[in-house]
Each structure stands twice: as structure tokens, then as C-alpha cells.
Amino acid sequence: MRTLKAKRLRVTAVSLALAAAFAAVACGGDDKTQSAPDTGSSRAGMHIEFAFAGVPGDPYYTVIKNGAAQAEKDMGVDVEFKETAQYDFQEQVRLIKAAIARKPDGLVVSEESPEVLDGPVKDAVDAGIPVIIAAAGEDSVAKTGALGFVGQNEFEVGFKAGLQLKAAGVKRVACLNPAVGTPNLDSRCEGLEKAIGTGNVDVIAIDQTDRTAAKNRVKAILQRGGVDGILALAAATVAEPAVAAVEESGKQDEVTVATIDLSPGVLSAVRDGKLLFASDQQQFLAGYLPVVLLALQHQYGIRPPSFVPTGPSYVTKANAAEVIELSKRGIR
């Protein structure tokens, strides 16, 4: 809690625009009578908890956390972002159980591991807590009775990335997966294979905590030959080393690289044409929008039905420069 409040986040034009846009959609009208959101009465003192399996410091989760912190300010509610110390779903289950005991006014959960988390999330729903699933776990909404999902369809992310690679002439792709076995990442590789063609995708496990090893693994793949495309499933820790590996192997002309998610290094690589594109979940929204949804549900009993997509949107050479500044500040 204290860390969230201490965060020196500037109110950005983007998040303000998002808030305004969302308020307009949620209020169901774009008429001129739209006024400043009512932060006074019934949502003052509202308490929303996040229970995520993010590792503190992971750049991806940091953006979600920053989104939640921004929403806390903008919506005038109390947000507590809880994340596990390790990428550990059992620990996340304990976070959810603790939340059920505290009975917050809203709970936001990421479901990277539905088989472990569906049960506890359903318990929270049964306990009368409004739950939004965010960032991962679209399929769990129906199974748990959660209010909705804010995030992207991971199969679609892989599929659309695959179509773009295919259009660029790529025949065989290495899918660099930093967490083999987690359904949302595996779905990306499966979507990719659907687009590229069965049997033309090699799934490669990459170690995120050692960039030299990650880079050299990609070099080994390139040296072995056969692939003319690379899709990195994470930005800073996977795509950046992959770009370096392609350059150092002198295969820029033979191998097309693209990535899911953003980082400052990925964005400059996109800008410089070393990455074909970066598929962006805009996960700031996965932290921001659930707070808005829960607050409006709490205050007025209104919410969009089910799935609110946050991505994929694409960063290419054309728009990289403008995204760079926001990424540096942990917003994209």
C-alpha cells in the first residue's frame, strides 16, 4: 500500500483520455451533459484488492501495477496491489484466500493458471465479492462467475502475430517462451502455429533471469538453422536478447523478429527496424480498467458485459517514437 502511494506517477494525458473515454462509454452516452465523475458519495472508502502472481520488479507486472495506482488516484478509491514474491500460483491462492477473509469491495485476479485458481476465485465470488479477472484467464469468467475479463485473447495474439510474420514471408518460426507450461503463453505459440502452419513452429524455452544465456540460446538456434522467423513472448528479457543474437549472428536479412509486449529496448529496436512489430497488450489497462469497472459497479451497478479487450494493438516503425516515452515511465 505504502509503495503504491509513494509512487511518483504523473497523471498522463493518455490515462486521462482513457478515463474520460471509458466514463463516456460506461455512461452510455456522449451528450454534452457529461460532467466530472462523482467521486463523493458511495465509492468513497471503497476498497479494491489485486491478487496477482507477478514477481515484484517484473517490468510487465509493473505496468499493470502502475495502471492500478493511477486508477486509485483518478477514481478516488482505495487500491491495494498484492503480488506474490515468486511466480507461484499456490502463493497467489493464499493471497486470494486472505482477500476473501478481509472481504474487500472488489477483487482483481490474474489467472495465468486457471486449474489452480478457478476454485479460489469461485470461492471469492460465492462469498459475495465482486471479482474481475484481468491480464490472463478469459475462459475462467464463465467457470467462476466473475463479473468480467479485462485483457487480451492469447490465442488471438499469437495467431495475429503469425499472420503478420507470414505476410512478411516467414516460413518457420521459433516461439521463444519464457514460461513453458503456462496456458496463456502456450496459447500464443498455438495461435502462431495455426497461422504459420502445423509443424512449422519450434517452441524454445528461454531463461529470463540471464540475458547472456538467453541471447546465446537464440544464437544456437540460429546457427542450427531452419528458422527464418522469431516470435519472442516477452519483451525486455526475451526479445532484446533475441535481437542482439540475430545481429551478432549477422542474420538480419535472413531472420525476421517480432515480439509480444513492450520494453524501452524493444521500442528502439522497432524504431530502428530490427523488430518487425511489437504486439502490445496495453496492460496498463488491465490494472486501470478493473478499478474503474468495480467502482462503477459498486456505485451505480453498471458494467460492460464480460470481455473488455485491451489488445493486441501494434507498435511498428510508424508509431514507435511516441510510445517510447510512455514505456520509459512504466505506462506502456
Binding site: R8, G57, D58, T212, A244, S249, S263
Partner: protein, 337 residues
């Protein structure tokens, strides 16, 4: 040939040559990958540079970790130190415009302080270093994340190192290439040789063995056990900082998550190299070959095209067999003497 427990004569010489097992092991692993993956680039200069770079970065840390283990202590905070040092060095260089040497000096000073605190805590509290440095592992990683997050206004990486250090001599000395091999490999080999000589020939080397063998007896003989251990904790933190610096310069960015599990990788390399967990026994050369084995296994598996999910299982099996062979050789050598 008096009793079956005594091995053949040639084994007798191995008592003073504990490196033989890791050297033979490294050759066996190399042969394995040469046969399986020789046609896919493992044997080329690039392929060799590939695993040597990984081995070198681990190996530099393994040198200090081996010395510390011989002196009877562990440092589990090495991996967190690596992440912390990367940020300590990169942040002032990129964001405050310091020259590279100043950023490195800052990181080395910070590392010395961490090593000093680790060492003094272990000596003063007489708690097992395993526990003390386990606490440092968490504290250091947590502080690194919180600090980076705060000063950058939400990010957890410091990029732009390439631009900030372009043209620096130190940069080419640490992250350049020579004869197709990354600079880290030469640093690793040079430091391994120096540390071996110090350990085998110098008074400090004797003190290290004494501190880990029987600390009480060593103290009575005038060995400054506490001082030796504190120095080794500092050296360990410094070695992690050197590797962090190399990594940041090679990869162009510092990242708070770097180095996780490096502490166990370094201990693994030391143990494959014949160092005993109980202290008092081990060699730097052995540790270097342990790191080499680690590097070959971790990268070689990608040349084979085998499912990379098997890497950790393979590594665990290597570790177990290395320790079993070490024990077999040591027992027979001792029985024979």
C-alpha cells in the same frame, strides 16, 4: 593389491589432483555434444564462443564462491548482488551522466559494503552463513527492485547503456571481443589462474584452507580466520559485480531480475568441480571446469534441438553423477595413500 578397497596405483596420484574428475567430465560432456550436435554448429568458433561466454560469466563468480566454500562459508546473496550491481552501475552512468569508471567504482563500493555486512554478520552472530546470506538474498533483491522502481518512476530496467558508454576503453576491455571470443572468457581464465596460484602457493591460500578445515585449530596456529572470511565475502560480492558490469555492457541494459539462481549455479559449478560443501577442500581449477560443464550443458542442449524443457533435469543428473564420481575417486585415493 592387499585389499579390494585399494584402487589401482594411478589413482593414488589423484589425491592431490582433485581437478581430474571435472576435467574428464568436461571432456565427456564436450564429446557428447560434439557427437550429437557437431553438425549443427556446436564445434564451430561461434558455437564454442557461445558456451564459453556463459561459462565465463558463471566461472568468474565461481572462483570467489569456491574460495568461500573452501573457507567453510556460503554466500546465497550472489545472484541478488548481480542484479543490484547492474543497477548501481548503470543508473549513474545512464541517468546522471557519470563516466563508466565512476559508475563501476560506485557499484564496486556498494558491493564491498554488502560483502562486509555479510561477513561481519556471519562472524559476529556466529549464525550459519547459509541463513545470513539467505536473508541478504531477499533483502538485496527487494531493495534493488524498490529503489529502481522509485528512482525511475515505475520502470525496473535501466536501458541506454550502449549510447552512454560508447567509445569507452573500459567498455571494450570488458565487453569487447578478441580472437572471436568475448572478453569475459579472458577475464575468467586470467582470474582463475591468479586465484589458483594464490590458493596453492600463498600464505593467504593456506589460511583459506585452514579457516574451512578446522577453524579452531587454525585460530590457535595464528590464522586470522574472521578476517579471511570477511575478505572472501567481499571478494564474492565483487566478483558478482564484475559479472554484472560485463553483462550490462554486453546486453546494453540493467534489469532488477538479473542473476536469479546464480548463487546455486555457482555452488553447483564449485561442487561439480570437487569442492566439498563442508569446507576445507576444493580447487579453483576444478570450479572453472565445473562452470565450463555448466555452460556446455546449458547451451549445448539448444544445439541438439532437443526439447529445452529437459535442460534442468539433465543438469541435475550431471551434478549428481559428478559428486558420486568425486566421492568414489577421493575415497579410493585416500584408501590408497
Amino acid at each position: 593389491m592387499t585389499t579390494p578397497a585399494i584402487g589401482p596405483d594411478w589413482l593414488r596420484g589423484l589425491r592431490r589432483r582433485p581437478e581430474v574428475t571435472p576435467v574428464a567430465g568436461a571432456f565427456a560432456v564436450w564429446l557428447f555434444f560434439a557427437l550429437i550436435a557437431g553438425g549443427t554448429g556446436f564445434l564451430t568458433t561461434q558455437g564454442t564462443a557461445n558456451y564459453l561466454e556463459v561459462a565465463a560469466q558463471l566461472g568468474i563468480i565461481t572462483i570467489a564462491v569456491t574460495l568461500l566454500m573452501i573457507a567453510g562459508e556460503f554466500d546465497l546473496s550472489v545472484g541478488s548482488m548481480l542484479g543490484a550491481a547492474g543497477v548501481l552501475m548503470a543508473y549513474p552512468v545512464v541517468e546522471l551522466g557519470w563516466p563508466l569508471w565512476a559508475g563501476m567504482g560506485f557499484a564496486f563500493a556498494g558491493a564491498s559494503l554488502v560483502g562486509l555486512i555479510n561477513g561481519l554478520l556471519v562472524i559476529r552472530t556466529a549464525l550459519p552463513s547459509f541463513i545470513v546470506t539467505l536473508a541478504s538474498l531477499f533483502i538485496l533483491r527487494g531493495v534493488t527492485i524498490a529503489f529502481t522502481h522509485d528512482v525511475t518512476g515505475g520502470a525496473t530496467q535501466v536501458g541506454g547503456v550502449d549510447e552512454a558508454t560508447a567509445g569507452s576503453f573500459l567498455r571494450s576491455a570488458l565487453a569487447g571481443e578478441l580472437l572471436g571470443l568475448p572478453a569475459a572468457v579472458f577475464w575468467w581464465i586470467a582470474m582463475t589462474l591468479v586465484a589458483s596460484v594464490v590458493l596453492a602457493k600463498s600464505r593467504f591460500g593456506n589460511w583459506v584452507y585452514g579457516a574451512g578445515g578446522d577453524a579452531d585449530a587454525a585460530s590457535k596456529l595464528g590464522v586470522p580466520v574472521a578476517r579471511v572470511k570477511v575478505i572472501l565475502f567481499v571478494l564474492t560480492a565483487l566478483s558478482a559485480t564484475l559479472v554484472a558490469t560485463i553483462g550490462v555492457l554486453v546486453n546494453g541494459a540493467a534489469d532488477v531480475q538479473q542473476g536469479q539462481l546464480k548463487e546455486f549455479q555457482a555452488i553447483t559449478a564449485a561442487v561439480i568441480g570437487g569442492t566439498l560443501l563442508t569446507g576445507g577442500y576444493g580447487t579453483v581449477i576444478g570450479g572453472a571446469f565445473g562452470a565450463l560443464i555448466f555452460g556446455m550443458v546449458s547451451q549445448g542442449i539448444f544445439f541438439t534441438g532437443a526439447d529445452a524443457d529437459w535442460f534442468q533435469a539433465f543438469l541435475g543428473a550431471m551434478l549428481l553423477s559428478a559428486v558420486l564420481v568425486n566421492r568414489y575417486v577421493t575415497r579410493h585415493a585416500q584408501a590408497a595413500s
